[in-house]
Symmetry: none
Subunit: 212 residues, 4 copies
DNA sequence: TATGAATGAGGATTCATTCAT
DNA sequence: CATGAATGAATCCTCATTCAT
């Protein structure tokens, strides 16, 4: 886990509250810019301007343009996790929880599609250590599904070989992200609800199938 | 389909054979550079140098740096299709053909992982028309699987509701590409063969399931 | 008159006083460079260097090299007008005013010969709108002479058919500019004073001629 | 007169007839290009292409791009002289000859306005020696008028102080060229014929005036 | 002679970052 | 803390000229 800890960006400013507020402004501005123009084609001047302050001030709160990308990626993951947490409710059985979690995840992906795409397309521009951290947060989301699967196994509502738990969790992530990546192809033929329905059936069919 | 036709890049050179040869050199050099440094951080001089000629010569065969990206994307898709074609053999049943096609596709993804990633990460840097063309080629690969599914339906070896054919095809693409996108997570737990096996079972179980 | 208004060049700098000062530096440097090497053979780096700052700073105050040419042309016309204004004194009669104005104009042309030549030789490198504006300023100078001629007609000191006023004014400009354009030929045979004397006589003879 | 002799451009080709023919092609193509785009913005490739042969062939007949400009200037002067010669007819008196010569010159200027402008705007791009030669040819045209004036003095039809002959000749050239340089202003108010009429009257009035 | 592919110096412009005020 | 002018390395692209075929 070396190097995967949250990176703290050095600052010239002392007041932590101010730092937090300013960085929020920066992220807010940068997310939109990165989405519409890409990381490389966005200038630091634009970021500063959209953030509402000068280029000099921007550099009081970051050390390099890449720091902004890092802040943005970190923020997006935070937002992802927050929305997942908010929408997830413990149900009776693990199977039901899973069913609902898949739905939630797919909807979150739909809402944040541009941002998810952004991370995938620009992550390579991050320096090594920050990149690892970002990938680590990605895994954290996978673990949400792993835990639900484990619970379903424990309460008997899901039949999964324990060694397949990780693959199942990955598959859930995958199907959610695919709604983002291949939207240009999928949306021609399915609504989000149809997609969730079809994919959930496919996934759970086996997991809940009772060989009589 | 307007505007999705193959773009032909203007040239200062007349000999078509020479153009083909030089552009091959360019693509060969650029693929590696783009993979290791990304499109934006690769300079035209580096491309020229790695191609084995001067910057002036490079610009005899392209009009802009973006043309190189287009050539690279086009080449990668060509390579993808070629490898798919080579490895696909018609089997007895549609179900068997599908099983084999999935395996082939996953292996091609494994071999060309960096290149597939490259397309996903840099496609947004293409101008509008070329981008459309590249996406069109992506769809062409999906259609390979659609045809196999149709065949399986026809010969009775696959039970799929015709309206789900597109989703199924997309799912196959998805699972192949996920081996690329999430390799950092998946490879910790599975070999490619295990992955193919597990995913194929998951997909085909329903399609071939006989409700007795 | 559409599009012939003064063009205001966009800037990255906010302080208007600084802009004015820096642009003055730019013009000062560029005039000399353009005169000795021509617009095309002068590099932006040379302009920046001679202006006393870096290439980056140059581009804080202009958007393109052509902007520099525009600034230069505008400055030259300003200087022309200023010197004309300074030297012009209202005399008793229109005829006397005219006589003096011709002398002044010829002297101004003599002093600014390189700059006048510069405008004639490089104006075609300006984009359309700025070119129109520059030509408009040229006309403004002609109008100075038109006004004097009108005055002479009014006070009876000049006999000119009103329809010839414009031609007369043009002729005055012409003879002044010719001292610039054909200096290589004229200076072999005349001093400026001789030239003024001869040309004034020629022009005014008719205008003041009393048909007895 | 050192250095003002006709420059002969070195060639890789032996056959003088071929050289003449090719250079004619070059000049024909270059004149149009230089007029519409200016010397600096015209590329040698364009010149070669418009001339009807390859860039390599172009360089068989010239040594540098500036040679083309020289050929063009030389050609224009030749054309000017030819047209003057063709149209000039000896009249009875020097005064009549002059009157007609002015008319001819003004018409030639009208016909060749773009080319005259071209010389004035691009001559500074010539190397030193060729420039001198071009200016020398300019003087040759002035001399045509000087000779006519001398003849008029000799036959008594013109009253000119011999020391003013050169200025008079220059003035004639000037008024012709001004129809070119200031056409944007003059054409608003006069036709060419009106202009010739007015200027001729102005010039000749004094020269032919009989102080009775 | 004619061709046209190859060359690379050179030029305009951008933009992340710094630092004096 | 905030500002924004200054910097200059870096980048894309052009084009006159050469030379092997």
């Amino acid at each position: 886990m070396r190097g995967a800890g949250k990176k703290s960006i050095p600052t010239l400013v002392k007041d932590p509250q101010l730092i937090a507020r300013r960085r929020e402004q920066i992220v807010q501005a940068a997310v939109d810019l990165f989405i519409s123009k890409g990381f490389h084609k966005t200038t630091t001047r634009e970021i500063a301007h959209s953030s509402g302050f000068s280029i000099g001030t921007l550099y009081e709160y970051i050390e390099s343009k890449e720091d902004v990308l890092y802040l943005v990626c970190d923020h997006i993951h935070g937002e992802l996790e927050k929305r997942m947490q908010e929408a997830l409710v413990e149900s009776q059985t693990g199977a039901d929880t899973l069913r609902q979690a898949i739905r939630v995840f797919a909807h979150v992906m739909e809402q944040m599609d541009d941002q998810v795409l952004l991370i995938y397309q620009e992550i390579k521009s991050l320096p090594n250590e920050p990149m690892k951290y970002v990938l680590r947060r990605e895994e954290a989301i996978t673990e949400i599904f792993e835990r639900i699967l484990q619970k379903g196994i424990a309460d008997g509502s899901l039949q999964v070989d324990p060694k397949d738990v990780k693959l199942m969790a990955q598959n859930i992530i995958i199907l959610g992200e695919m709604w983002v990546f291949r939207r240009w192809a999928l949306r021609k033929h399915y609504t989000l609800e149809e997609y969730i329905e079809a994919q959930t059936n496919l996934l759970l069919q086996r997991l809940t199938h009772h060989h009589s």
